[in-house]
């Protein structure tokens, strides 16, 4: 079955068996290994990507359902010239250790800040509830998201 999606602004397609999940298609057919396979049942969030503006577990979405959609993966967060403020702040704060939760965490955080530019700590926790991390204890991740939010707001008002 031919599935055509727009990934990170570029049209991509692959011929995949109908039962292929979006995660599998991204990783194996399109070579975008940023989204990870952690549990395959939608609990850990390492497979999180944005489809048509909302964050989803790509391991639970059939690739065929995403046909015609706009998909944003971690590979699309930074542009050619600079890192996304979230990526900068994650790096500055040392928010990631093994890094496996990183792509999913960053995508969920981006999804939050796109909708709610000034979240409270509670709202950050709520937004990241579907992304598990076994290494860090979440503290620096939350700090980095709060800091990135500040950065993004000051960037807009500073001009």
């Amino acid at each position: 079955m031919l599935v055509e999606i727009n990934v990170n602004g570029e049209p991509k397609s692959a011929d995949v068996p109908p039962e292929t999940t979006l995660l599998k298609m991204l990783r194996e057919d399109l070579g975008l290994t940023g989204a990870k396979l952690g549990c395959d049942v939608g609990d850990c969030g390492t497979c999180t990507v944005i489809v048509d503006g909302v964050s989803v577990n790509s391991c639970l979405m059939m690739a065929a359902r995403a046909n015609g959609s706009n998909v944003t993966t971690i590979e699309g967060l930074a542009n050619a010239n600079e890192l996304h403020p979230l990526q900068e702040k994650f790096e500055e704060h040392g928010a990631l250790q093994c890094g496996f939760c990183g792509p999913g965490m960053l995508i969920s955080a981006k999804s939050l800040l796109d909708r709610n530019p000034e979240p409270t700590v509670f709202e950050v926790r709520d937004a990241l509830a579907g992304n598990l991390c076994r290494c860090t204890g979440y503290t620096k991740i939350i700090e980095a998201v709060m800091d990135a939010g500040r950065e993004m707001r000051s960037g807009q008002s500073g001009a």
């Binding site: 990783r27 194996e28 290994t33 940023g34 989204a35 990870k36 396979l37 952690g38 549990c39 395959d40 049942v41 850990c44 390492t46 993966t73 971690i74 590979e75 967060l77 930074a78 890192l83 979230l86 990526q87 900068e88 702040k89 994650f90 790096e91 500055e92 704060h93 040392g94 990631l96 250790q97 093994c98 890094g99 496996f100 939760c101 990183g102 792509p103 960053l106 409270t120 700590v121 509670f122 598990l132 991390c133 076994r134 290494c135 503290t139 939350i142 700090e143 980095a144 709060m146 800091d147």
Partner: protein, 465 residues
């Protein structure tokens, strides 16, 4: 209970909201004086003056992590690579009467199968080589692999597993570690389930218990804990034309892994290359080989690279877990709550194979009495086999379990004697030059200072009122 003057939740919220990146925070180490070696400063100060301590550093891999460019094993593919799946045992303890992979071999996409009798040397382990690569003829826990299949796609490998016919003769099993201690319990290996033990003796514990004002006794149990690394165990095996095998693996201890591969494959180490890549969480669970010899052999048979990744289900039943401890603590104290004697029995649920139990029992035993000055100690620790998931290394190696026991009992004692829980610890705690339970002189001890400072910051006094 009175409300605390410091509300820890709003404090945390504030801290998280205001936190700045470390690079933006000032250094706290005095840098006005140059560092000169050798450092002839008093012990504590020396630590503050070395070039590294107190410096801000960025993780070198932070950039790639944020970009999603870090390559974990499952992100690596090779041309013509196959996928392997492992068939796990149906019983916690059984004899395999027969395995028939002939139907599986005919399934679409299947290029190789493997069973335990094909492993050149089917045993490995860091202390005792009691663990098989693929169990044969005895399976000792539900997570034991009994056969493996390599196929072009993962689904083909999974489908082929269903066609493997295994005939089992179930054997009596033992799950409870206390039951496993008994002579008449089903045996997992050999004549006894006790496979390692440790004794620590100091002073005369029975005499001191008799002379104690109060004696407290309790049994504490801790549970199985699975590491749940976000990245499941993963490996890829590939051979070159010169008979050398390379494994890309999430394994942490690659030199030990290479030894185990040399042993199980009956190959010289010089022909084995292990590449341990960036790992997505280990915590001790990736300290020993799992599938690597299986993949090496499948790869040899199929003449193609073979990859295998644990499912999350495999992670729970087949990868190692933390040892459950059953701990009997008998503690004698005087009327001021000063500990005079401590007698401890530890029973480690050692799972089906020994793995890192040797280290765990050692650490657990030495740390069992707690960071307290006790003149009379007896620790008797036993590790027993059970027909459950192999218990292995997990951060702490026995320390967290005993800590739960001795700290809980400390609170019991404080409560019974009407002594402040902080105070009783200050009365008993280690200081500089205290002796450990095995009579090691301890230095750089800041236990009481830490407790006192922490108590101040938490608002311990206010909370008590």
């Amino acid at each position: 209970m009175a409300t605390r003057t410091k509300d820890i939740r709003t404090d945390t919220e504030e801290l998280l909201t205001e936190a700045k990146a470390p690079s933006q925070q000032p250094l706290t180490v005095p840098t006005d004086k140059p560092v000169a070696y050798p450092l002839d400063l008093p012990e504590g100060e020396a630590r503050l003056r070395t070039p590294a301590v107190g410096q801000r550093a960025s993780r070198p891999d932070g950039r790639l992590h944020g970009l999603g460019q870090t390559q974990y094993i499952d992100d690596i593919t090779f041309p013509h690579m196959l996928h392997a799946k492992i068939l796990r045992s149906e019983y916690p303890h059984a004899k395999i009467l027969s395995i028939d992979t002939s139907e599986a071999e005919k399934m679409p996409g299947v290029l190789a199968t493997l069973t335990g009798d094909e492993i050149p040397e089917n045993s490995f382990g860091p202390t005792f080589q009691d663990q098989p690569v693929l169990a044969y003829p005895i399976v000792r826990h539900r997570g034991d692999g009994v056969a493996a299949v390599a196929a072009v796609t993962e689904q083909q490998a999974t489908d082929a597993l269903e066609k493997i016919k295994v005939e089992y003769e179930p054997l009596p099993h033992v799950f409870d570690p206390l039951e496993a201690l008994e002579d008449d319990s089903p045996k997992v290996h050999g004549d006894t389930n006790i496979y390692t033990s440790k004794t620590i003796k100091k002073g005369d514990v029975e005499k001191a218990l008799k002379e104690s004002e109060h004696v407290f006794h309790r049994q504490f149990r801790t549970q199985m804990v699975e590491h749940v690394p976000l990245e499941p165990h993963a490996s890829i095996a590939s051979w070159d034309g010169n008979g050398r095998v390379t494994l890309w693996t999430s394994l942490g201890r690659i030199t030990l892994g290479r030894e185990d591969l040399a042993r199980t494959l009956k190959m010289p180490q010089s022909k084995i290359r292990l590449i341990g890549t960036v790992v997505g969480g280990n915590f001790g669970g990736k300290n020993e080989i799992t599938n690597e010899p299986i993949l090496a052999l499948l790869s040899k048979k199929a003449a193609r690279p073979v990859k295998s990744v644990f499912t999350r289900g495999d992670e729970f039943i087949s990868s190692t877990i933390r040892h459950p401890f059953t701990m009997d603590y008998t503690t004698g104290v005087d009327s001021d709550g000063k500990i005079l004697a401590r007698k401890i029995r530890l029973v480690l649920d050692g799972g089906a194979y020994c793995s890192w139990t040797g280290t765990t029992i050692g650490k657990g035993s030495i740390l069992a009495p707690g960071p307290y000055n006790i003149d009379n100690i007896l620790v008797e620790a036993f590790a027993v086999y059970t027909n459950k998931t192999t218990t292995g290394a997990m951060r702490g190696f026995g320390a967290p379990q005993v800590c739960f026991a001795y700290e809980s009992q400390m609170d019991d004692i404080a409560d019974a004697l009407g002594i402040d829980p902080l105070e009783i610890r200050l009365r008993n705690g280690f200081s500089e030059n205290s002796l450990s339970p095995t009579s090691q002189t301890l230095q750089s001890v800041a236990l009481k200072e830490s407790l006192t400072q922490a108590a101040e910051r938490f608002g311990w006094k206010e909370w008590q009122e």
